[in-house]
């Protein structure tokens, strides 16, 4: 996979959890250069802003993922 696709993967809010519940780094993070990671950070900021603006409650996919985690724990 090329850097452009890896960067797009890193902009996703989906993250795996360890059996202990710790949130793991995205695999794509480890395959990217430091400059590309910085690019992914900036693109993620933009994506979350767009998501929040489109969401009726003003929530991004990061917020949705966290809330899903909280509610699934009961």
């Amino acid at each position: 996979m090329d850097d452009e696709s890896l960067i797009e993967q890193l902009t996703s809010a989906h993250r795996e959890h360890s059996p202990q519940g710790e949130i793991r780094f995205a695999p794509a993070f480890h395959d990217l250069s430091e400059a590309a990671r910085e690019q992914a950070y900036e693109l993620t900021r933009v994506a979350r802003g767009l998501e929040a603006a489109l969401d009726a409650d003003g929530l991004s996919s990061t917020a949705r993922a966290v809330l899903a985690r909280i509610t699934s724990r009961g």
């Binding site: 809010a13 409650d57 003003g58 909280i70």
Partner: protein, 191 residues
């Protein structure tokens, strides 16, 4: 939403009100993400941010609002900083990260809750080509709960095609917004 209004949510958040935490997240999340900028070369800031937000929810019953205001957000910036430093220590990159600029908490990162902005973005989304539109919608509907591999499979796309279409959707939206006079603080293109 003002800092006072965010602090006013604290008792409900502490009592376990998920809706109150959701209201706070709309404003608190962008601020904490912005504070992690200096670490973006060395840690997965999305993972650190989500871990921070989960910890904030857990410790909220012990947080007290103080005169400085925005108590939960300030604590979140501190937790995020500490988590990032922990990751750097584990990967032995701390010295390099300390060469960068210090962690800053600029206070406000704008929350994108303006109804007019939402209308403009919706209009731009409506103009998206079919495939980028379906990819954007699919990722948003999943709310970060499913990996891109699963989303791509649901749309009958190869993962690489899915990812390219997501990038195209974002770029299309940014250009559409620019034409409408709305500027997002963003890089122009993926490298």
């Amino acid at each position: 939403m003002t800092a006072e209004a965010r602090d006013a949510l604290l008792p409900d958040i502490a009592a376990g009100d998920v809706q109150a935490f959701a209201s706070w997240l709309a404003h608190g999340e962008p601020r904490i993400r912005l504070s992690l900028k200096r670490f973006a070369r060395f840690v997965d800031t999305e993972a650190v941010l989500q871990e921070t937000l989960l910890r904030l929810w857990q410790v909220a019953p012990r947080v007290r609002a103080d005169a400085r205001g925005d108590s939960l957000a300030r604590l979140g910036v501190q937790i995020a900083h500490n988590l990032a430093i922990d990751h750097l220590r584990r990967s032995r990159r701390l010295e390099r990260a300390q060469l960068q600029e210090p962690t800053t908490d600029d206070g406000e990162e704008p929350a994108f809750t303006d109804p007019l902005l939402r209308t403009v973005i919706h209009e731009c989304v409506g103009k998206l080509p079919k495939q980028p539109a379906s990819v954007l919608r699919c990722r948003m509907e999943s709310g970060g709960t499913q990996p891109d591999e699963a989303l791509a499979e649901r749309l009958g796309m190869q993962l690489n095609t899915f990812l390219k279409n997501f990038g195209r959707a974002r770029q299309f939206l940014l250009e559409c917004l620019e034409r409408a006079g709305v500027e997002f603080d963003s890089p122009r293109r993926p490298i």
